[in-house]
């Protein structure tokens, strides 16, 4: 049972300056599943996500308390190198942010940091990553063109491929489809459903229906607290908390 959890989080408190932005969150996140996190803006979803790969370290005004275990290892332990942690826990941001370089160079950004120079290996990595992100067929003939020339939806899939090429264990997605058309959104959702065989996926989304479509488990965040967490079916059909019910049925949010 224990080894099936990728993340085990207990009593997580996050402060933004003096304001408490997350209140005693405890959640065990199963491996090789998609966890959907839903909730209105400002409920702390993004902050929660960024605690998991220590991106919050970059903002000095944010402080994190509590325990986050990744494979039974405390990721906030002083001996843990956040750079190595981020290689294990990849992240796709809300806005597609391709770096101003070619499609190919974007995908190999992370591998090249770790001195993988073997051309064959890189070529292979680029092809498999782009294929998994459902982008390969659209760009295979123009890998050397600038990533800035792709459409928004393609750029976001490129960002997913770029994370896949890092070969992480966990993929965090922070509202990855917020600015995308339905077709690109569907492509990303399909990609995620395939990817959970090999990765643990945590998907923050403003789109409640998206969580219902792809997530195995769903957590509902509201005003710095996690109101409810359970299998997606249960959250959407018979939530235990009235506030969850109101949110998923669209009464507010």
């Amino acid at each position: 049972m224990e080894s099936n959890f990728k993340f085990r989080i207990s009593n997580l408190n996050v402060y933004w300056g003096k304001v408490q932005a997350l209140r005693s969150i405890s959640i065990d996140i199963p491996a090789n599943r998609i966890l959907g996190i839903i909730g209105p803006s400002g409920s702390g979803k993004t902050l929660f996500l960024r605690s998991l790969n220590r991106m919050n370290d970059l903002a000095p005004e944010i402080s994190v308390e509590g325990r986050i275990l990744l494979d039974d290892e405390d990721i906030y332990h002083p001996h843990v190198d956040p750079v190595k942690l981020r290689k294990r826990v990849g992240m796709v941001f809300a806005l597609p942010v391709p770096l101003p370089a070619s499609i190919y160079d974007n995908v190999i950004f992370s591998p090249s940091l770790f001195n993988i120079r073997n051309r064959k290996k890189l070529d292979h990595l680029v092809e498999t990553s782009l294929t998994s992100a459902f982008l390969w067929d659209e760009v295979k003939d123009r890998l050397k063109t600038s990533a800035m020339r792709l459409s928004g939806g393609q750029q976001q899939r490129l960002c997913l491929a770029r994370v896949l090429a890092m070969e992480p264990e966990v993929i965090l997605l922070d509202e990855p489809c917020s600015g995308l058309d339905p077709i690109s959104t569907a492509a990303i959702e399909r990609a995620l459903s395939n990817l959970k065989q090999n990765f643990t996926i945590i998907l923050v989304t403003n789109n409640t229906k998206q969580a219902a479509r792809v997530a195995d488990n769903t957590a509902f965040f509201l005003m710095s607290e996690m109101v409810e967490y359970g299998p997606t079916d249960q959250i959407f059909t018979m939530p235990r908390d009235g506030r969850t019910n109101d949110y998923v049925t669209g009464r507010f949010g």
Partner: protein
């Protein structure tokens, strides 16, 4: 009473056009004037022979050498120093009293008249360090003069790189230095190059600080410890002492052509670089 937006629009466009045209006109007038008086005397011989009789006759070869070497050495030293400082200030420190003091210092340094730098260079490099009037004394003095420009323009260029690029880089497992080297600096490069160009221009045009530190010898320098005369200084002396108006203007014409060439080449290189990334 209100004026119809269509008329204010027309007035705005014409005023702005007029301002732009007059700015350009001043530039064109200066260039045409100097070229008209100087270009007829510029020839292969003028560029590549030694001057005779204090520059009344002959060419400007040693001053050409001086004009190339002084700024080149100065830029070679000031660029790593300045860009390094800018990276440190923007990427490795948080805004604090210390960074504000450094920035304030750089701004003050930028406002000091060049003759003060000349005096400082003369006392410090030429006499105290016994470097004499030499290329090295002149270059080091120029370094102090252009350092603030390079620091501040690089800083602005680095700050203009979107913060999201850094976040992406960190999230993909990059260290601070990898982020600086692979994401920040390449994207800040056009701005950094602009700062370097401004500095080259300032170095080439400098006279006061250079007469004090590199001297004004018309002999061909054999090492960086020899005194040298730059084209700007040569022009100043030729005109000031009334040695030769013809050669003065010819030198000025060469000076302007050199600066135009340097600017054109650097713009071309920059465009190539940007085109490569966004093709």
């Amino acid at each position: 009473m209100t004026v119809h937006p269509r008329y204010t629009q027309i007035v705005a466009v014409s005023v702005l056009t007029l301002l732009t045209v007059s700015t350009l006109a001043v530039l064109v007038f200066i260039i045409v004037f100097v070229f008209g008086k100087g270009l007829p005397y510029v020839s292969f011989d003028f560029l590549f022979t030694n001057p005779k009789d204090m520059g009344k006759f002959g060419g400007i070869l040693p001053t050409l050498i001086g004009t190339v070497t002084l700024p080149l050495i100065a830029i070679g030293i000031a660029t790593p120093l300045g860009v390094g400082t800018a990276v440190y200030l923007t990427e490795y420190t948080r805004e604090s009293r210390m960074t504000r003091i450094i920035r304030f210092g750089a701004d003050c340094l930028a406002g000091i008249p060049s003759i003060i730098f000349g005096l400082f260079g003369f006392i410090f490099f030429v006499t105290t360090l016994r470097m004499g009037w030499s290329i090295i004394s002149g270059s080091l003095t120029l370094v102090f003069m252009i350092l603030p420009t390079i620091i501040r323009t690089s800083e602005e260029a680095i700050k203009s790189v979107p913060y999201l690029y850094r976040e992406v880089s960190f999230s993909l497992g990059a260290t601070q230095w990898q982020t600086v080297r692979r994401v920040v600096l390449p994207n800040a490069l056009p701005g950094i190059v602009t700062g370097i160009m401004l500095s080259i221009g300032r170095s080439i045009g400098e006279t006061a600080a250079i007469i004090f530190t590199a001297g004004s010898s018309l002999r061909m320098p054999h090492s960086i410890f020899d005194s040298v005369r730059t084209m700007s200084v040569h022009f100043y002396i030729l005109a000031r002492e009334g040695i030769s108006n013809q050669n003065a203007y010819a030198t000025a014409a060469v000076l302007i052509i050199s600066i135009l060439t340097i600017n054109l080449i650097s713009y071309w290189m920059m465009n190539m670089f940007i085109a490569k990334k966004t093709r």
